[in-house]
């Protein structure tokens, strides 16, 4: 025991310093990497918006090119998230609160299997199995709900539509959301669950009173992770989709997403060409989209900060 308060165990203090310095540098490293990524994208995309021989800035032309892809990306991700998020939360709840406790671990493991499947395989599955299976569904939707703009166009006869891509993405992000939600749900303090049950809450009411409020930030985090994956997924979409121009209809061929466009275009893009720059520039655009989407999510989470779960 040291005699004076300012004399403290030197090694301990050093340990604290080193550790906190390490954590900060890890964070800074991430920021730096990201800054380099942005720099890389920005430097290489200049030609997409500035061409000497076309009279300088050609932002208009670029936007013309980019906006259908932006919409396609958002639509596919939206379909994925709308389909996957409720199911994923449901599955996570099933594992944490409904399944027989003895089985719940194994069941969680089974769902994690979905995450183990590489995206190429999802792509191949979506292209060769799911797409064809959905053709009659699209025909039906078109016949019966054709008055809605999303089901208006001629239904695809190969099933390779943005809707199929959205479903495949949904399946891909399902385990991500499930896994994050499940871990958080399990952490819900027993104390709070019991508080609700003791008031005579049914299981669902207990979940609403104790589990969801506690897990709110976690659920949103999980969804954002999934959304990030959906926005950035390349190979599966490239395989499943039959890309083309922007159409309002979700069940006809057409539409494309930014990552798919990059993956499909980049290999053949001549070095240093405007095309290459264009592809990198839409990468930057995707970056900005992700930025905006996450800003919104963070904003939603932060509004309830005062009422946070831990203590």
């Amino acid at each position: 025991m040291s005699s004076s308060l300012t004399q403290s165990d030197k090694r301990g203090v050093a340990g604290d310093r080193v550790f906190s310095a390490l954590t900060v540098s890890a964070g800074v490293l991430i920021l730096l990497t990201l800054a380099f990524v942005v720099l890389f994208l920005a430097a290489n995309s200049r030609d997409a918006v500035y061409q000497e021989d076309q009279g300088g800035w050609i932002i208009g032309a670029f936007l013309e090119y980019a906006y259908p892809l932006v919409i396609g990306t958002l639509v596919a991700s939206l379909i994925a998230i709308v389909l996957a998020a409720p199911v994923a939360v449901g599955v996570a709840l099933y594992i944490s609160h409904y399944a027989p406790p003895r089985w719940s671990k194994s069941i969680g493991y089974v769902i994690d299997l979905l995450a183990a499947i590489p995206s190429v395989v999802y792509g191949a599955w979506g292209m060769s199995f799911l797409g064809p299976e959905l053709i009659p569904v699209y025909n039906w939707l078109h016949e019966n709900l054709g008055f809605l703009p999303f089901f208006a166009g001629d239904p695809s006869q190969t099933g390779r539509t943005i809707f199929t891509a959205g479903i495949v993405l949904g399946v891909m992000i399902l385990p991500i959301i499930t896994s994050v939600c499940r871990e958080i749900f399990i952490q819900t303090p027993k104390l709070h669950e019991e508080a609700a049950l003791a008031l005579g809450a049914t299981r669902w009411e207990m979940i609403k009173m104790s589990v969801f409020p506690f897990a709110r930030a976690g659920i949103i985090s999980g969804i954002m992770l999934g959304l990030g994956r959906a926005l950035g997924e390349t190979m599966a979409v490239a395989l499943v989709l039959s890309p083309g121009m922007l159409t309002a209809s979700l069940i006809s061929n057409g539409n494309s997403t930014i990552p798919a466009e990059i993956a499909l275009g980049f290999p053949e893009a001549p070095p240093g060409s405007e095309r290459q720059a264009q592809l990198i520039a839409i990468g930057l655009v995707l970056f900005i989209i992700t930025l905006l989407v996450n800003m919104t999510a963070r904003w939603i989470v932060s509004r309830h900060k005062e009422f946070s779960g831990a203590n």
Partner: protein, 396 residues
């Protein structure tokens, strides 16, 4: 009379009576209980009616399932609602929906696994599949396999080794960085601008398309090597297509997943545990390492596995950063490497023999199966670690 209630029986679907606001008098705890055979009967009826309705539209499994589910969920809701009360009906509804969600999630899983293994198992059992490489396997060999029925040659040894090495390297890079960052965010930062910037940009990182990560890593490595060789004069002939470049590309994709999941897991560790440790005169870093991390370990393990699963299946970034070879390379820092997904993708897309593509397809599915098995193995391993450190169960 004995009864061994388990948490599942916390809410059995059978509903007892309920107090209406004005009249709190109940005569029995089980009054109005709906007998459990009712649900069996209801399910059976739903199955039959579902089948009938589906047959009207031209029978298929999907519509059968949908009709059955809708009929069962809706009718059990209405029965509970009319015979018992609204709260119990709501509870039953959600219970059914949650079970349904689970069933729904299983469907693609089963379907994908079936797609993979129906061809993949055959490929896996070919002699030497796990143990040989693609050296010497040309279109002629495949043509022979397909037309004359000789065994499908060629294996994935090189690709498995490549994938494992690259993924391990990526994990070794990104898990410490990701974990440290999330520790910074949860334990050290007090909501300052740095932490907000990190949180924010990590979010943004989740959406980087994988190919962009690959291009970036390739460019970064090339730049680094040129600077390095111009400064030191060493490694001037070193090229940037390396296993380690791929690992860096994958790290860019992994880090945000690790940060985001571990951040959430650390946040739910109760503060009173940290306080208990501080009060014992334990330094913060030790508290974090020995109290906070073990408490959150299970979630962290899940997060890391998730991150690994995310990147181990990546194709494009590995192809552009690590190349594609037909034999084994154990060195991450020298020469090209093949990864399983690249192998799978190439076998699908550019069969070794374009006109006799069955052997290639078979190899692709089998390799996919192996990849899934590898991720499962890693997952199991992570869970093992997690249970070793996880909070001991029990307690209220």
């Amino acid at each position: 009379m004995t009864q061994t209630p388990t948490p599942t029986s916390v809410q059995s679907p059978s509903g007892p009576p309920q107090l209406s606001e004005g009249n709190r008098r109940r005569s029995s705890l089980t009054q109005n209980t709906l007998p459990s055979w009712l649900w069996m009967a209801l399910l059976a009826a739903a199955v039959v009616i579902g089948a009938a309705l589906s047959a009207l539209l031209g029978f298929n499994l999907a519509t059968w399932f949908i009709f059955t589910a809708v009929i069962y969920v809706a009718s059990s809701y209405f029965i509970t609602r009319t015979r018992v009360n609204r709260r119990r009906a709501t509870d039953a509804l959600w219970t059914n929906l949650i079970y349904l969600a689970f069933a729904l999630a299983l469907m693609p899983l089963v379907s994908v696994i079936w797609s993979v293994s129906s061809v993949g198992i055959q490929g896996l059992t070919e002699p030497g599949f796990l143990n040989s490489e693609m050296q010497g396997v040309t279109g002629l060999v495949d043509e022979q396999s397909q037309t004359e029925g000789t065994p499908v040659l060629g294996g994935i040894r090189h690709a498995m080794i490549g994938s494992l090495l690259i993924t391990l390297a990526a994990t070794a890079i990104s898990v410490p960085i990701g974990l440290m960052t999330s520790i910074y965010l949860v334990e050290y930062s007090r909501g300052g601008p740095l932490s907000r910037a990190i949180t924010f940009f990590v979010d943004v990182m989740t959406g980087i398309p994988s190919i962009v990560a690959g291009l970036f890593a390739g460019a970064a490595m090339a730049w680094f090597l040129s600077v390095f060789s111009s400064v030191t004069g060493l490694l001037s002939t070193q090229r940037s297509t390396l296993g380690i470049t791929a690992a860096i590309a994958l790290s860019v994709l992994m880090v945000p997943v690790v940060v985001r999941t571990t951040e959430e897991m650390l946040r739910v560790v109760p503060n009173e545990l940290r306080e208990a440790s501080y009060a014992l005169g334990v330094r913060k870093w030790r508290t974090i390492l020995k109290v906070v991390l073990p408490t959150a370990i299970s979630g962290i393990a899940s997060g890391v596995t998730l991150a690994i699963a995310r990147v181990i299946g990546e194709t494009a970034p590995i192809l552009v950063t690590a190349g594609f070879v037909v034999n084994t390379n154990w060195n991450l820092f020298q020469g090209w490497m093949t990864a399983l997904p690249v192998y799978i993708f190439r076998q699908f897309q550019n069969p070794t023999s374009p006109n006799f593509s069955d052997p290639s397809e078979q190899r692709a599915w089998a390799a996919a199966l192996v990849l899934i098995l590898i991720v499962m193995g890693l997952n199991l391993f992570a869970r093992l670690i997690a249970t070793l450190f996880a909070p001991k169960q029990a307690g209220r």
